[in-house]
């Protein structure tokens, strides 16, 4: 869907590039996660891909054509949710939605969407009176209004509660399952860990790693089994290497003779892997 080659970008007022030659591909029908700490260049990259920031160097093609060759009908295909929820605060949710809806050729079924994100009851409320979570959900509805082929979501899970985050993630999955492609950013790994088909780790304007979360875990994760069992009223933890586990006598005896409490494969979280690969912690100290 998207192919980005050696992308570089400098803000007019800055001296140095904030995007330092990144290359990646977003395949049709996948959820592509862009993960990195605050200030890494996630939002900047999104704004370049959606043609808001123009003076980049490098090559970006969409559907096999250079993005610069597209006119404004490009946006018939694209849905965007910005980092900040953006609406007309003195208009109701529905007035906001209806205004934007009429700017597009294709129109999604608003009632279904609004019900899906739990905003239908509040449709006649001023957006200025919405909570942050409601605004973010409305942002997603807005991004889906034109039944886009490609969806851009900048930190959609930031600052909303787990229940709403789940609704959003389910919505994104459904969108993907119906054939849509998604670019999603986050600085909180666990948030979109299970959501993404592939992720890129971006730090300080450079991509350090791109792969599926599963492959990353296989490559960087500890291949271990951790067993917790009870002995003399105490819980004891043992770790075994995953290789040839079926022939590991000690492990097998333990299984047969002890009162087992839990067994876990030593799955490293994406966050652990991120730190391992990049040497950088993900979260801001301020959070």
């Amino acid at each position: 869907m998207y192919k980005v080659e050696d992308l570089r970008f400098k803000y007019p007022k800055n001296k140095d590039d904030v995007i330092k030659g990144i290359s990646f591909e977003i395949k049709e029908g996948e959820i592509f996660g862009f993960l990195g700490p605050s200030g890494a260049g996630k939002s900047t990259t999104q704004k370049i891909l959606i043609k808001i920031l123009e003076d980049y160097r490098g090559k970006i093609s969409y559907s096999g054509k250079d993005v610069s060759e597209f006119g404004n009908d490009f946006y018939e295909d694209i849905g965007v949710s910005f980092e900040m929820p953006i609406h007309f605060s003195k208009m109701t949710a529905m007035e906001n939605i209806n205004f934007f809806l009429k700017l597009y050729k294709r129109n999604a079924d608003v009632e279904t969407l609004m019900k899906r994100v739990g905003l239908w009851e509040s449709k006649d409320k001023m957006v200025g009176e919405f909570s942050k979570g409601m605004k973010i959900r409305l942002n997603i509805v807005r991004a889906l209004l034109n039944e886009p082929k490609m969806l851009f979501l900048d930190e959609p899970t930031n600052g909303i509660d787990p229940a709403n985050a789940k609704i959003l993630k389910d919505l994104v999955k459904e969108f993907r399952d119906a054939g849509g492609t998604v670019f999603i950013t986050s600085h909180i790994m666990s948030d979109i860990d299970q959501l993404c088909d592939r992720v890129a780790f971006i730090v300080d304007g450079e991509i350090k790693e791109i792969d599926s979360p599963r492959n990353l875990k296989i490559r960087y994760g500890k291949r271990e089994l951790r067993v917790e069992y009870k002995e003399n009223g105490k819980t004891i933890t043992r770790e075994f290497p995953m290789d040839n586990i079926g022939k590991n006598e000690e492990f097998l005896t333990l299984l047969q003779t002890k009162d087992i409490e839990t067994i876990h494969s030593g799955e490293t979280t994406l966050e652990d892997i991120f730190i391992k690969v990049t040497g950088v912690g993900l979260r801001d100290e301020s959070e």
Binding site: I52, L53, I78, V80, I86, M91, E95, L103, Y104
Partner: protein, 245 residues
């Protein structure tokens, strides 16, 4: 450029002018002008009414478009507009159209009041042309000015300075401090003067000379030039700066 989309955008702008109480403010301003003019005698009214209409079409136009753009800036909505299929030209044009319609509305209020109350004689067609052309010019001009304003009060101060700088030469000529004949040729370059000629043309005793036709051409061509060479080329940069990018 798609007419149907421009219409959607214009309707959206008008709805917002209403929601953000700018309509209410302009009705209030019209009432204040009306009350003020109601109590002056008819000779003074004859000179004051065109001036009020001029100020409404010029200074108020700049002020309203400036305020609208500040509202928009504070809500970062421009970035959302940039990712819709609307083109820059459509976005600029719809805002100028909506604000012209809005400002026309307050001028019409003032005029109706005076036609009904004071029996003022007007050529409706010419007054309409005068107000529309003047309002459109100052709206697009105000659009361009708003690109450079850092904050709301700063904008108001700048409009005042700008207006006084341009009004003073006209006044000096009117009260015969400057008497040189060539000065009237200098004056016509002043858009406020051009607006005064056009609006004056709608009143009974106006004498049509070359100044009228020059002013008409001047503001019409000026509108197109300001739009094409000043407002449109800078729109994208301006929008991006406003959107916090």
């Amino acid at each position: 450029m798609k007419a149907s989309r421009v219409w959607v955008l214009v309707k959206g702008e008008l709805l917002r002018l209403n929601k953000y109480n700018i309509f209410a403010i302009s009705i209030l301003v019209a009432i204040i002008w009306g009350v003020m003019l109601y109590f002056v005698n008819s000779t003074i009214l004859a000179t004051l009414l065109p001036m009020v209409l001029l100020v409404d079409a010029s200074m108020m136009s700049i002020m309203y478009i400036g305020s609208v753009m500040f509202f928009e800036k504070s809500e970062f909505t421009i970035s959302t507009m940039l990712v819709t299929p609307s083109t820059n030209a459509e976005l600029v044009l719809s805002k100028v159209l909506a604000n012209t319609i809005h400002n026309l509305f307050s001028s019409v209020l003032i005029i109706i009041a005076f036609v009904l109350l004071k029996d003022v004689k007007l050529n409706y067609f010419l007054i309409f042309v005068g107000i529309v052309v003047t309002t459109t010019f100052f709206t697009i001009f105000g659009y361009y000015m708003a690109y450079f304003q850092k904050n709301f009060t700063g904008m108001l101060v700048n409009i005042m300075i700008f207006a006084f700088a341009l009004l003073i030469p006209s006044l000096l000529y009117e009260v015969h401090v400057i008497t040189a004949d060539w000065f009237q040729y200098v004056l016509v370059i002043n858009p406020f003067q051009a607006g005064a000629e056009l609006i004056g043309g709608g009143f009974k005793d106006y004498v049509f000379e070359w100044q009228y036709y020059f002013s008409l051409a001047y503001l019409l061509i000026g509108t197109v030039l300001v739009y094409r060479f000043l407002v449109l080329p800078k729109f994208h940069d301006y929008s991006i700066r406003q959107s916090g990018v």
